[in-house]
Symmetry: C2
Subunit: 334 residues, 2 copies
Amino acid sequence: MTLDTENRSMHTPENISENENLGPGLFVGLDIGGTKTAVLIVDRVLNVIGRGAAPTVVSSPEALVDGIYNAVVQTLADCGRTTADLLAVGAGVPGMVDPNTGMVRLAVNLNLEKYPLGPALAERLGVSVALENDVRAASLGAYRWLNEQTPVHYMAYLSIGTGISAGLVVDGRIYRGTQGMAGEIGHVIFEPDGPLCRCGLHGCFEAISAGPAIARHYKDGDGTAESVFLAAEQGDPTALAAIAYAAEGVARAVQLLVMAYDVDKVVLGGGVLNAGEAFLTPIYESLARMREQSDLAARMLAADKVIAAPREADVARWGAVLLALGAYNKRADG
Amino acid sequence: MTLDTENRSMHTPENISENENLGPGLFVGLDIGGTKTAVLIVDRVLNVIGRGAAPTVVSSPEALVDGIYNAVVQTLADCGRTTADLLAVGAGVPGMVDPNTGMVRLAVNLNLEKYPLGPALAERLGVSVALENDVRAASLGAYRWLNEQTPVHYMAYLSIGTGISAGLVVDGRIYRGTQGMAGEIGHVIFEPDGPLCRCGLHGCFEAISAGPAIARHYKDGDGTAESVFLAAEQGDPTALAAIAYAAEGVARAVQLLVMAYDVDKVVLGGGVLNAGEAFLTPIYESLARMREQSDLAARMLAADKVIAAPREADVARWGAVLLALGAYNKRADG
């Protein structure tokens, strides 16, 4: 994640500013969600040029590609730019992705199965497109954000939203595993007799702590996680208990990540974390109880081990930008 | 883990055999346990020259070093060799180890805390000594054993004995994490209301599935895991239930390792696995139940995902030999 600055002077006429010297080239990061595609445009030195978003169209693969293309073109147009300025594009996709081929093996929320989304987007946009699983991509964004404040080598990112997944980043590189599934701890069994998970198992971490799970723990379960946090704010004890139960699951997941990966930090993100202290406080309380009970937990789960990425860190889109940068550098090397 | 064969001819007088040509150099692998130190001696091309074992003396660090030194010297003598033939030594140590400095940060069973065991052994033996946590070292041995039959890139080794720990090996390298604690999943909480673990937490995986835990699940818990397996062999339903409960824990740990690390294979080892089919069968049954319930589990936990390393594979000592080889090559490169 260092920019090659050594060779700049080779191409530098003296009468233009540094950024102009670098040319008008732009990187685009895309966070392709089931309902919304978010766009971030940066220049060569990673200054933000523009942001945008558009609904994700999932009626067909072709419509999906059209929609994403239009979202990029519109965001570029809003900055007075065109696709001619693009250097490379990165995209986080909610599903199983082969980053080498750009093939989406399965993305239920995008209505895709075995579709070459990377090549299809590359053809429309005229530049390299790097794909990665959305949470693994966001891990890279979280790693960049974290290293702006604390230099670390080993970091896990835990995303808690509609689903739950994690990513491990070591020295700026995503650890993917053999199928790119490393970090899918949302489906680790936390309670064999617990609630049924959408994967078919019982008591998966996701069935305990994801947004929909929090809603289900509360009364008739016909609301949303947001409504549970609202009720908790009013002091509703059932809502508080539902949140505490989910938070306990998150604390257990943090412990799992630390014991399995031995990371310097665990960064929390995802939609449910937008609840802020209302969710973080019971998570930190659960971790503090572990530390009280166990010297090993005290050593491995120090109070500063866990940190929440603020919404503004925009780790999903920044991670996608870093994918774009990686794809561009790789092309330049090759 | 490839040997440099290219340069051999440079030093080869034509009238001696290849092995003699390579010189009399030997690598030693040590598995330093709380009660026994096991020794494996191999030549430069990893042919076994000798094996030995001696009680581990833990009365003081000096006595420990003396005892290990004597075990190595005796095993060498049994093969008609001396320490003058040594190229490098590797050792697996049951505790927290810094492989860069050879410092043992904490090894309760060896009665060591902040002791430079690597340098102390190196001084006595006159060669480089590479230390690693015993289970992480054994992971390397398991990786070598596994790759003799099936080429894999990502492998987790899960050791179930008096304690429980795991190791991740990627392309022949141990993944250590920031403190060398990666894989300490024996202390991941499986049941918050479960049995008290020696670490102070409740319901850790180790408190459910390690040897002493199996003994505790059975009747008054005053026997050993071996005695429970013996009772199970006689059809004792309480013993069978105790084993099934522990096996369910192992299956959950396998699932955890696969979801967190996304490995090609999980290799099982450690003392409790010496029970063979009596333990393996219920583990495989638990995994089969997960596959029946969930497409995701079926994809991630295929029937051939898990394999037990046979005792003869001697993964602990072979892992230590590979540490020695690594230390020697590093010295030769540097």
